[in-house]
């Protein structure tokens, strides 16, 4: 049980996918301008990370590894995740239109997001069991959510402040992103001592 908690917390804070592993930077910079779109995107990411792990972990363990096809991991995962997200979209459209509407364009947008692919591949590399892999995906999704919401707050503050001309636009956003990710370095080393 403690191991699961450690996995969850370290996925959220220490190995945060956006701010420590630098995966999924595109939506981090692209969709973080407004709080509601950042929330929508993050919820979709959590959702997709969970279902992607639930499908790719068995594929790796019961299909690829026994047949010595481990090297096909990347391409098979991309293929399966893309198809899966499309399927989920069709199902949502039919049965839960309200959720489909609120996830909106973000659902197809993250089919090929590297954070989603990163989670599924790292789950295998770390040698997690199925439950551990699911917990890690949940943690990674929550970490993404945290980073997006935090950064959208930072950006809305930037929007209203007086910035030197040469820093306006992209430069100040990148600097702000760098400082935000620096703050997450502070979590390093906490987990090892937390449950010791």
């Amino acid at each position: 049980m403690i191991k699961l908690i450690v996995i969850l917390l370290s996925a959220v804070f220490i190995n945060n996918y956006v701010l420590s592993r630098f995966l999924g930077i595109c939506p981090f910079l692209g969709v973080s301008k407004k709080l509601d779109s950042a929330t929508g995107m993050s919820l979709a990411v959590i959702f997709v990370m969970l279902i992607a792990t639930a499908v790719t972990w068995p594929i790796q363990m019961y299909l690829l590894n026994p047949n010595n096809l481990g090297y096909l991991q990347t391409i098979v995962f991309i293929l399966v995740i893309a198809a899966l997200v499309q399927l989920v979209e069709i199902i949502l459209k039919r049965y839960i239109p309200s959720l489909h509407k609120s996830l909106g364009v973000y659902l197809p947008l993250i089919t090929t997001n590297c954070a989603v692919l990163g989670v599924t591949i790292l789950n295998i590399d770390e040698g997690y069991t199925f439950v551990e892999a699911m917990v890690n995906s949940l943690g990674s999704g929550l970490g993404f959510f945290l980073a997006m919401v935090m950064f959208s707050g930072v950006r809305s503050t930037i929007e209203g402040s007086d910035i030197p001309k040469s820093f306006q636009g992209l430069p100040i956003t990148l600097i702000a992103a760098a400082i935000t990710s620096l703050s997450f370095l502070g979590f390093g080393g906490i987990i090892e001592n937390l449950f010791a």
Partner: protein
């Protein structure tokens, strides 16, 4: 077996399975469409410009099907013809479409203003704008690299002497360029209008004067001479309120009296009006 085959075959099989599942799912779980939808969609021009305020022609057609409150006169590129067809299908009263054309609020071409730096980067206004607000000495003006011209679905915009010009005869009033311009220089106005302010510089008069001979210096002369009180200088630049600027008793007085000539008389009659005459 060849190693290449052991790799390709499983991927192909997985791909085929995924495709089959998707096809079956989309057949079983297809959402029933309103039967009027294809008919309405057929009427719309299909430019997907978003001028109606919905996400593309599909979005507008859907909104028309779902709610009878959706106005039928929102399609600017389709103009009166489309509006008439839509109102026939839906059985509502025909509403006139206000045809619009795009206008560039900058006339600071290479004769009137100068560059402050040489720019050798990507040929795109957005990219140029990121570097110190563009190469021109006026950071509010047209960057002249043609993002709007590239975005225009009708080839109605061209770059001449370093600034964008809209050919109102070709413009369908979709408003894509208004959203593309990083300096927000382009706006849509009704195609019956005759006067436009061709400057967007919000600097103080003295600063503007130095960098562009066409720039609005905010002298408020136009405010005083306008018989209808339709011109207001806000943030050091004159803005015409087109709702008040109708049936001017002294037409063109603002343009004649403008100190720098940034208020101009121009023929904005768009393609629809042009065809009618």
């Amino acid at each position: 077996m060849e190693p290449i085959l052991t790799a390709v075959i499983p991927v192909v099989i997985i791909g085929i399975i995924c495709a089959a599942v998707l096809v079956i799912a989309s057949k079983i779980m297809a959402v029933k469409e309103d039967e009027r939808f294809p008919v309405i969609r057929e009427c719309l021009p299909g430019a997907n410009c978003g001028a109606c305020g919905f996400a593309g022609c599909d979005g507008y057609a859907k909104a028309l099907c779902e709610s009878s409150d959706t106005p039928t006169n929102l399609c600017v590129p389709g103009a009166d013809g489309v509006s008439r067809k839509l109102s026939e299908i839906l059985g509502v009263e025909f509403e006139d479409v206000i045809e619009q054309v795009a206008v560039v609020h900058c006339a600071g071409d290479c004769k009137k203003t100068q560059d402050k730096v040489e720019y050798h980067g990507i040929e795109s206004c957005v990219a140029a704008k990121l570097l110190y607000g563009g190469k021109g000495s006026c950071t509010y003006g047209c960057l002249g690299l043609g993002d709007c011209a590239a975005a225009c679905p009708q080839d109605a915009i061209c770059i001449q002497n370093g600034i964008a010009h809209v050919d109102s005869r070709k413009c369908i009033g979709c408003g894509i360029c208004t959203r593309t311009c990083p300096n927000h220089l382009i706006s849509l106005v009704a195609d019956v209008e005759k006067v436009v302010v061709t400057c967007s510089n919000k600097d103080k008069g003295a600063v503007t004067r130095k960098i562009c001979s066409n720039g609005c210096i905010g002298c408020k002369k136009c405010e005083k001479v306008c018989p209808l009180g339709a011109i207001k200088v806000t943030d050091n630049v004159a803005v015409i309120d087109y709702e008040k600027c109708t049936d001017c008793p002294d037409f063109g007085v603002c343009a004649k009296n403008c100190t720098t000539g940034c208020i101009m008389i121009s023929d904005l009659s768009g393609m629809h009006r042009y065809k009618e005459n």
